[in-house]
Amino acid sequence: MSRKPEDIVSAAVVKHGSGREAVIGILTDVNRELGYIPEEAIKAIAKAVDVSNAEIYSVISFYSFFSIEPRGRNIVRLCNTISCEMNGSSDILDAIEKELGIKAGETTADDRITLETTSCIGLCDESPAMLVNDTPHTRLTPEETRRILAGLE
C-alpha cells in the first residue's frame, strides 16, 4: 500500500524544510515515489511552503523529469537533439514506437513503459543515446534498443 500524497509531502518537508528552496527536493521525493505529482500533493506543497498552487505547478512544468500525470513503471527518454539525430535517433524512435505500439509522450496499456523524447542528455560522443529510468544507454541500434526494452519489468 503506497503512502498518500499528503503524507509523502509531510515527510519530504521534514527532510528538506519548508522554504522555497526546498520545493525541488520535495517534488523529487514525490515524483520518485509515485512516478508523478498528483494535484493533492501540489496543494499540500504550496501550503507547506506558503506559496500559491500556481507557483508549484509552474516549477513542475519547467522540469521534464517531473510529471503531473501518472506514468509507466519505466520511463524511456530518447535524446532528440542534433548529435543523436545525426547518428540515427529517429530510426531508434521508429523502432521503439513500433515495438511498443505507442508514440512519444504515451504510455503502454499495461503501464510498463512511458516513452518520451528529451533534449540533450550530454552523451553526444556516444550517440544516439537514451535514458531508461536513471540508466544511460548509448550507441543504440534498433536491435539493441529492442533488447533493452524487452528486459524492462
Binding site: E39, I42, V51, S52, N53, A54, E55, Y57, S58, S61, F62, I68
Partner: protein
C-alpha cells in the same frame, strides 16, 4: 551611497552609486526603451529591450538591472545597440500576433509604439502569422496568449502588488505560456478579478471582458429604460482614456454619456454617500454591541466592503474573518438595487424594463454584478459594467468631441454627489467620508480636522492609520463613546491588505474600522482605468479627486439632499427593514 561620475552618450554626469543604468539615464534625460520594466514592480531583465553599450564590456548591458559603477561610460544608441535592439524587437514581434487593428490595445500598446519608434518596417523573422489564441475567459478578464511577449509583468503584479499569485509561467522555451494552476483558468482559481495585470500588460494579451456590444444594443432598444451610473474615479480617468491630460471632467463626462443615448445619467456617488450612512451606522452599532452589551459575537474591526476584488480576496484568504466585513453592498450594487425599485417608481417605469449600466474603474465589478446574491430588486440589480476604457471606446465610436463639450449635470433622484462620495475613488477616501459622517452623528459636531480634510488617511503609503479620540460630550444616545479613541487603518493593494489582515488575524492590532481597496491607489488605480498606470499617473488622478472634493458644495455624505429624500420617502432609517432587504448582503467562504 556616494555619488559617482558616469558618462552617458559623451556627457559626464554625477549619479548615486548603485542606481541602475536605466535610472541614471532617466535622470540625465536620456530615454531607453523598456518592456519588462515597470516602475511598480521588481526588476526582471528578461526582455532585453533596454540593452546599452558600456565601454570595456564584452557584451551589451541590460540597463534596467545593471547598477552604474564609477566612471562607467555608457552609449545608449551606438550602432551595436541599435542593431541589437532592433533584433530583439523583431524577434518579439515575430512571436507576437501583430494584427493590431483587431486588438483592444491598438494605439495604446508599448510594443507597437516601440516598433514605430524603431522604424520596424520589415521583419525578416516574421515567418508566419500568429493566430489569435484566446486562452482565458473570466467575468472580468480575458487573455489572448498570441499577443503575450512573456515579459511577466502580469505575473509580478499578481504576486508582488496583490499577493494573489494565481498566474505563473507554465512550460518552458517555445511552449511557455502564462497560465493558472492546472491551466484551470482565472475563473476557477483564487483570482480576485482586480485587473491590475491588465493595467501592466505592455501589449493586448490581457484585457477586460467587454460588454460594449450589449450596452449599445440596450441603448438602441426603445423598450428599455437604460440608466447609467458613473463611479467616482471615472471623472478623473475618462479624459486620459481619450488621450487628453489627466483632469476632473465630471460635466463633460455627463454630457458625453448623455450623448451616447442613455435615458438617465446618474451617479454612483449617490450610493457612495448612501453607503457611508449605512456603513457608518453599522460601525456605530457594532461598537455599541461590543462596548456596551459586551457581545462577543460581534466582530471588530469592521472592514469596508466596496471593493469587489477585496471581497473575493478575503473570501479566499481569510474566510474566518468574513464576519468582520461590513454587510453593506458596494455602491454599484446599492445603486443597481435602487434603480429597479426606488428609481423605477420615481420615474414611473416598469422595473423589468430598466437596464442598469455601470461605468466602473474596475474589472472586478463585472464579476461582482454576476454574483448570484445580487438580485435583491427582483431582477439582476446591475446588468452591464463597462470600464473607463470601454466608455472611452464608445465615446470615440460615437464621434463625440469630448474636449469641446459643455458641462452638463446629472439627472435627478440618484444624481446628487458630495465631496465625501468623490473621494471614494482614492485610497483612504471611504475612511475619510465615513469619519466625516460618523463623528458628526455621534458627537453632533463636525470632525475636528482643518477643512474637514482627514489628512492622516490620505496619501499613497501602503498602510495608513489614525486614532481619533471622542470628546467627553456626545450626542444623545452615544454617551457610551465619550472619551473612546477610535482606531482606524487603511490599506490599498492586496499585498498591503494581506500585511494588515495578517496582523488582525493574529490579534496584534486593535483597530475598530479598516478600509481596504484591492487596487494600488484605490479605485483611481483600478483595473478598468486608462493604461498606463504608475505612481505619477496615480498621484495626478488623486490630486484631481481631492480638488473635486474641495469645490463641491456638499462635502459630507449625510448632507446629500437626494440621499436625505431617499431616507424620508423610501428607506425610512439607516439599517432599517428596506435597507436590509436591498442594500446589505452576505459573503461566501471559498477555497
Amino acid at each position: 551611497m556616494p555619488n559617482v561620475s558616469v558618462t552617458i552618450n559623451g556627457v559626464t554626469t554625477s549619479v548615486r552609486e548603485g542606481v541602475t543604468i536605466l535610472d541614471s539615464c532617466k535622470t540625465a534625460g536620456v530615454e531607453i526603451p523598456t518592456l519588462c520594466y515597470h516602475p511598480d514592480l521588481s526588476l526582471a531583465g528578461n526582455c532585453r529591450m533596454c540593452l546599452v553599450e558600456v565601454e570595456g564590456w564584452k557584451t551589451l548591458a541590460i540597463a534596467c538591472v545593471t547598477p552604474v559603477t564609477p566612471n562607467m561610460v555608457i552609449n545608449t544608441h551606438s550602432k551595436k545597440v541599435r542593431h541589437a535592439r532592433r533584433t530583439v524587437l523583431k524577434l518579439l514581434l515575430a512571436a507576437h500576433n501583430v494584427n493590431c487593428p483587431e486588438c483592444e490595445r491598438n494605439k495604446n500598446c508599448e510594443l507597437q509604439e516601440l516598433a514605430e519608434k524603431h522604424n520596424i518596417t520589415f521583419n525578416e523573422f516574421q515567418t508566419s502569422p500568429k493566430p489569435s489564441s484566446l486562452e482565458e475567459v473570466s467575468p472580468g478578464i480575458m487573455r489572448d496568449n498570441s499577443r503575450c511577449i512573456m515579459c511577466t509583468r502580469c505575473v509580478r503584479t499578481c504576486e508582488e502588488l496583490q499577493s494573489v499569485a494565481v498566474i505563473k509561467p507554465v512550460g518552458r522555451s517555445a511552449s511557455i505560456n502564462i497560465s493558472t494552476f492546472m491551466d484551470e483558468g482565472l475563473d476557477n482559481v483564487p483570482c480576485t478579478q482586480c485587473g491590475q495585470c491588465i493595467n501592466r500588460c505592455p501589449t493586448g494579451a490581457l484585457f477586460e471582458t467587454s460588454e460594449v456590444k450589449q450596452v449599445w444594443e440596450a441603448i438602441e432598444d426603445t423598450e428599455k429604460f437604460v440608466v447609467v451610473q458613473t463611479a467616482p474615479a471615472i471623472r478623473v480617468g475618462i479624459a486620459e482614456a481619450l488621450g487628453l491630460p489627466t483632469d476632473r471632467t465630471t460635466g463633460k463626462m455627463v454630457a458625453a454619456i448623455r450623448g451616447l443615448g442613455f435615458d438617465r445619467v446618474l451617479d454612483t456617488d449617490f450610493t457612495a454617500d448612501l453607503t457611508i450612512i449605512e456603513e457608518g451606522h453599522e460601525l456605530i452599532s457594532r461598537l455599541k454591541k461590543v462596548l456596551v452589551d459586551g457581545d462577543s459575537d460581534t466582530a471588530l474591526p469592521m472592514t469596508t466592503s466596496c471593493s469587489p476584488g477585496w471581497i473575493k480576496f478575503i473570501e479566499h484568504k481569510y474566510p474566518d474573518l468574513l464576519p468582520n466585513v461590513s454587510t453593506c453592498k458596494s455602491p454599484q450594487q446599492m445603486f443597481g438595487a435602487l434603480s429597479k425599485t426606488y428609481l423605477a417608481n420615481k420615474e414611473d417605469v416598469d422595473p423589468s424594463k430598466v437596464i442598469c449600466v455601470s461605468i466602473m474603474p474596475c474589472t472586478a465589478k463585472k464579476y461582482e454584478k454576476d454574483r448570484p446574491e445580487m438580485r435583491d430588486s427582483g431582477y439582476k440589480d446591475v446588468d452591464y459594467v463597462l470600464t473607463t476604457r470601454e466608455l472611452a471606446r464608445m465615446i470615440k465610436e460615437a464621434g463625440i468631441d469630448f474636449d469641446n463639450l459643455r458641462d452638463e449635470k446629472y439627472d435627478k433622484w440618484m444624481g446628487d454627489s458630495t465631496g465625501a462620495a468623490v473621494i471614494f475613488g482614492a485610497t483612504g477616501g471611504v475612511m475619510e467620508a465615513a469619519l466625516r459622517t460618523a463623528y458628526e452623528v455621534v458627537t453632533g459636531q463636525e470632525i475636528p480636522f482643518e477643512g474637514l480634510n482627514v489628512a492622516p488617511v490620505r496619501g499613497m503609503e501602503g498602510i495608513k492609520d489614525a486614532a481619533i479620540t471622542m470628546p467627553d460630550k456626545m450626542a444623545s444616545g452615544f454617551e457610551f463613546l465619550a472619551g473612546v479613541t477610535l482606531k482606524v487603518a487603511v490599506a490599498h493593494g492586496l499585498a498591503n491588505a494581506k500585511e494588515l489582515m495578517d496582523k488582525v488575524h493574529a490579534g496584534e492590532v486593535d483597530y475598530h474600522f479598516i478600509e481596504i481597496m484591492a487596487c494600488p491607489g484605490g479605485c483611481l488605480g483600478g483595473g478598468g482605468q486608462p493604461i498606463p498606470t504608475n505612481p505619477t499617473v496615480r498621484k495626478k488622478r488623486s490630486d484631481a479627486i481631492y480638488e473635486e472634493d474641495a469645490v463641491l458644495h456638499f462635502r459630507k455624505s449625510h448632507a446629500n439632499p437626494e440621499v436625505q429624500l431617499l431616507y424620508a420617502e423610501f428607506l425610512k432609517e439607516p439599517l432599517g427593514h428596506k435597507s436590509h432587504e436591498l442594500l446589505h448582503t452576505h459573503y461566501t467562504k471559498r477555497d
